[in-house]
Structures are given as C-alpha cells and as structure tokens.
Symmetry: C2
Subunit: 348 residues, 2 copies
C-alpha cells in the first residue's frame, strides 16, 4: 500500500528520450513470426500474410482509471496490456503485438518506469505478444498510458457485436463483480491509511477480489476453447463497463431484445460476502461494476450441447425480438428494464 | 490568437462516452479497401492482403508539445495526424489508417472537440486514410492526443534507418528550420499579447514559417515520387527532432560516418531573414530546430542522375566510413563534430 518514498531514484532527465526507450525495452523479446521489424525505426513492420488484422486502443489516465496509492506500477503495466488484449479476444482473434506509449511527469523516477515496464513485459511474455513500438514523453501532471493492440484471425472468423439473433443464448465466462468490490476494499483501506499510516491493511480475506481489480487476466483461453469446441459465437463483447452496458451494446447493434436472469448471474462467494459486508446489492455490482474483462457472447441454441457443463461458461439469458426490450428477470420473477449507467468519468 | 471565451459550450458530461465517440466520428468516411470494420466494435478489422504493414504511434501533450494559446484546435488535430503519417512515409510506405485517442479535461467543450476532430477529418480526407478506432477519456488537466498510424508496402520496399553505406549521398526534401522559427514568432507574439491584450499581432511577414509550425504537411508525395523515379533509398528517417539528431540516428544504426555541408542545407529566405531578426544562427536552427517533417534519406551514387535537378531534393552531404565520424563541414571549410541535442522535455 502507498508508495515507498525511500526507493532508489534516477531522474528521467539523466537519460533523454532515446536512452529511456532503449533502456525500458531492451529485455523485450520478439516471438511472433509476423513481427519483421520492432522498436528502433520510424515504424514497426509487420507481416500478417493473408489473415485479417484487428486493432484496438485504450488510454489509462492516472486519477481517472487508476490510483497509484494502491495500484503497484508493475500491476498497472500488466493491467494496461490486459485491457487491450481483452478487446482483441472479444473479436475472436489471437493477440500478436502491442505498442505502448506513456506520458509521465518528473515525479516518476527511472526505477518507477522500470517497474511499469516489467509488468508490461510479464504480460507480453505470458500472452505471447510482441511489444513493437511506442512513444515516451513528459506530462505536466501524472501518468498516462496509451496501448494499441493487434491480433489476427482467419477471414471468416471475426465476431462482431452485431450478429445476435432472437432465441440465441446469452453466455458469460467466469464470474462478475469481483473487480468492482476489490476496488471498494482498496478505497476503504486507503481511507483507513490516511487516518493512521501505521495501520497496515489486512487484505487476506479479500485476495480474490483485490486480484481481480489489480491483476485482471484477459480470456485468451476462451478464444482457443471456441476453436477447440468448434463454436463461433453470433456476437461477442468484453465486459469492461459492466454486464448491463455490454448487453445493451449487443442488443442495440444486433437489433434484438434480451431477457437476463438475475439468478443465473455468476458470482464468486467472496463477492457475495463482501457485498453483504458493504451492504451493496450483488446484482447491482455485477450489472454495473465493470472491469471484469470476462467475455459476453451469444450462440445459437444448436451450439448449446457444446458448452453445456463446461465450467468456463454460464448461460445467463436469451435474446428476443427487439420489440420485447431488454430486461432483467429478477429472482421474484418480475421484469425490470435494463439501463445503461453511462460513463461517469466526465462528471467527476 | 488566444482562445475565444465566448464561444458556444456544450458540456462533455451531457453526452457520455458513447455519445461522444459517435458524435465526433459520424462524418468520417471509409475509403480504404483494407478497412473491413471501423469504429463501433471492440476492435477494427483490417485486411492487408499479402502486403507488409507498418505501425507507428506518437503522443502529443498540452504544455509539452503544443500551446493552445496560439495553436487552433483544428490545426492541432491536423498536425497530430501529420506527425504520425510522416513516420509511415519515412518507411517508404503508403498510409492507410489511423486510430486517435484523446484524454481531455472538463475545461474543453464539445464544440472544442468538434474543432479538433474537424482537423483530424480534414487530414484523413486529404491524405486518403481511414480513422478506424480510438478512445475518449477524461483527464485531470489538459489535452493529450495519442495517434497510431498504419501503412502498407510491398515486401521488399521497407526502408530502414540502418541501410546507409559509405559513399551514399545524404539527401533532404524541402527546406529546414521553418517550423522552429515559426514557433519563435508565435512565442514572441504571445508575450506581447500578455502585456497588451488589445495588441493584435501582425503575422503577415511570417506566413510561411508560422504555417510550417501550425500546419505541417507530411511528405506523401515523396514516397510516390520514389516509386515513379524507381528509387529505393538505402536509409530514411523523417525530420521531427532536427537534422542533426536524425543524421546521428542513421549513422548509428547504419554504422557509418557522415560529412554534412553547411552551405548545402536548404533554407527558405523567410527563415534566413527571421533568423537575422532574432539574431539566431540559421544553421543552428536547421540542425536542431525540429518539427519540419521533411524526409532525410541516403541513396547510392548510381541513383544521383534520377534526383539531379529535381526541386524536391537537396544533396547535403555524403556518408563515410564509421571511423571518420559525423561532421558538419562549415562554410569556412572547417569540420565540427555533430552532436545530438538530446531531448529536453524532461528538463522543462
């Protein structure tokens, strides 16, 4: 918790831009055949042969998307990669390369950036992707990370948000709400720390949900599993903003409605118990919490036997005609219209 | 000069993220055959057939790379695209797509972002590229723009920084130092304005250099010209940090030395006269000014007849054995070692 102020500090101005990029990326290995030329020229050169390429990009801003008082820089680097890979997998593609740009203030030392890049390098190694470019510049305030990710897929394999059909099943991977409740725990401990800096937090009872917040994993395994099970979802999206918002995206772009069953939403026991501790409704958390980076997809009912009893998947509803609207069917068997919670960053 | 405070203002919080992206990109047309799916899903889908792909990315940060008190937002959008396309052309590639992400504080209205995106749209239209993705988020302070650009080239056509050979000619496009002197004029007028806001600056005598600073053009035409003239440079880089720094990059990566002739460096008459007005040495400006976005390249002497007398090109020196070092040969015929000016942003 909270930055160690006594760590070794090498000022960034001692290196200059070129020294910095060379230094931060010198351990990065190139593994993808499609990477012909990586960092060190005006641009990287890639060869995707005859495959289609997916491209996605995300910005993470200090004070908006992360708080360094409880987010270790190494985890932040890892998470910045995961957020982008998750979008690649949500297209049913294999991730191959990323570029990483950072804007950083003088407040950060070289050692701090090495921590950040060690998280990026770990993510790249575990997910078998190449870091092929980036930019490093100064900022007047905090830290900002911009990642662009690339992936490849065969020409007929892309899964859009727009392909869901009435009667398709709505399926989610993993469980929901953990990342949001992890954030609540971390925010509470930060307040405790502010009051008494000698009070070291005991995060032991919250290990799972804190890890869901600080070190999420993108579902690379699911894209492989689809291939293995011979399933092509009709529509897919990753859960970054919350289940509710993502269902509405699929419904809007596919021109369908949806019935989502409250009692089917997968929740980890730790999420349930921490929701009770915080006196928050766990369904609300799963619907609106976000940052779970699970995949939400629809499949034809004909494919149901292929996913039945697979612990990675939970069927949570089905798609309907558009006129029927988008609803949550509660445990009490009443229907409530699902609403987007919108994007609150600009209201902050 | 200086923002108009009375312009129409729609608060960003009125739209939310999805409304904002839709709104800002709704006029953007898709023209490239290689763009299969653009903005609106988890990722864009591109099909580059059997060509190689180049990828480059740059961050522009308010207060570091631009000053909105004299940089109109429309020009800023245009320039953010040019900076990246310039890197694509420096690989000898054709630019095809970009993604644009912005982090923006509440200080900016929707109308301000529309201005920014109209500059991006103009650049995309004139340079025939598609805007295929991006992210829009809030920041706690100013404006930050992250652009990633894509281009394609045939498999044997990539030109790296590393291919220069001793006796190759060193050639530059256009003229140098204009963007830096334009910045000096704008900075001076800003100080005048601060003292007396009623004093409207007369920029008429500085039109060329101010435009070099505010609205640079990437040299798309040169890549076409190489194709037409059947020239493949042995090495190439774009001039973003200054001639001196770029020559040193080529020499380092190609393991060669260089003799650069001071009297051959192309300068616009306006640059020369404004350098006199500011009492700055014009060679120093050309060597270290940066932001000219011209192309610097080396060619085999056998190719000299193909570029001779072409007004786009100036031969400014030749490459030597690495042991001979990198030198400026002055008008007085003395040799001075060229030094990198380094990257000063972190010292600010």
């Amino acid at each position: 918790m909270i930055e160690d102020k006594n760590q070794e500090r090498t000022s960034l101005s001692e290196l200059g831009e070129f020294g910095l990029i060379d230094h931060l990326t010198k351990h990065f290995e190139i593994k993808q055949e499609s990477t012909i030329k990586s960092i060190g020229d005006d641009a990287a050169v890639l060869n995707f042969e005859n495959k289609n390429v997916v491209v996605t990009t995300d910005l993470l801003v200090e004070g908006v998307h992360f708080d360094l008082s409880y987010m270790p820089l190494k985890h932040l680097g890892y998470k910045a990669v995961m957020v982008n890979l998750s979008d690649v997998y949500a297209m049913n593609a294999s991730a191959t390369q990323i570029t990483v740009s950072i804007a950083v203030s003088n407040r950060f030392s070289l050692e701090a950036l090495e921590e950040l890049y060690s998280g990026i390098e770990t993510a790249a190694r575990l997910y078998n992707i190449d870091v092929v470019g980036g930019d490093t510049t100064s900022s007047n305030t905090g830290l900002l990370i911009s990642v662009t990710a690339f992936g490849v897929l065969k020409k007929d394999k892309a899964v859009y948000r727009s392909g869901a059909k009435p009667n398709d099943l709505l399926v989610v991977t993993g469980d929901l709400g953990g990342a949001y409740m992890g954030l609540q725990v971390l925010e509470r401990e930060k307040e405790v720390y502010k009051v008494n800096p000698n009070n070291q937090p005991d995060l032991q009872p919250y290990t799972y949900i804190v890890e869901r917040q600080l070190k999420p994993e993108a579902r690379k395994d699911i894209v492989k599993l689809f291939d293995h099970l011979d399933i092509k979802p009709t529509a897919m999206i990753d859960i970054s903003d919350g289940l509710s918002s993502e269902i509405l995206h699929i419904c809007k772009q596919s021109n369908v409605g949806c019935d989502l069953y409250e009692n089917k939403i997968p929740l980890d026991p730790q999420v349930i118990s921490v929701c009770e501790e915080f006196n928050i409704d766990s369904t609300t958390v799963a619907l609106n919490g976000g940052e779970d980076y699970e995949l939400l997809f629809t499949i034809s009912q004909d494919d149901y036997p292929k996913i039945k009893a697979n612990p990675n998947f939970t069927v949570i509803g089905f798609m309907t005609e558009q006129e029927k609207g988008v609803h949550l069917v509660t445990r009490a068997d009443t229907k409530i219209a699902l609403k987007a919670q919108g994007w609150k960053n600009f209201n902050a």
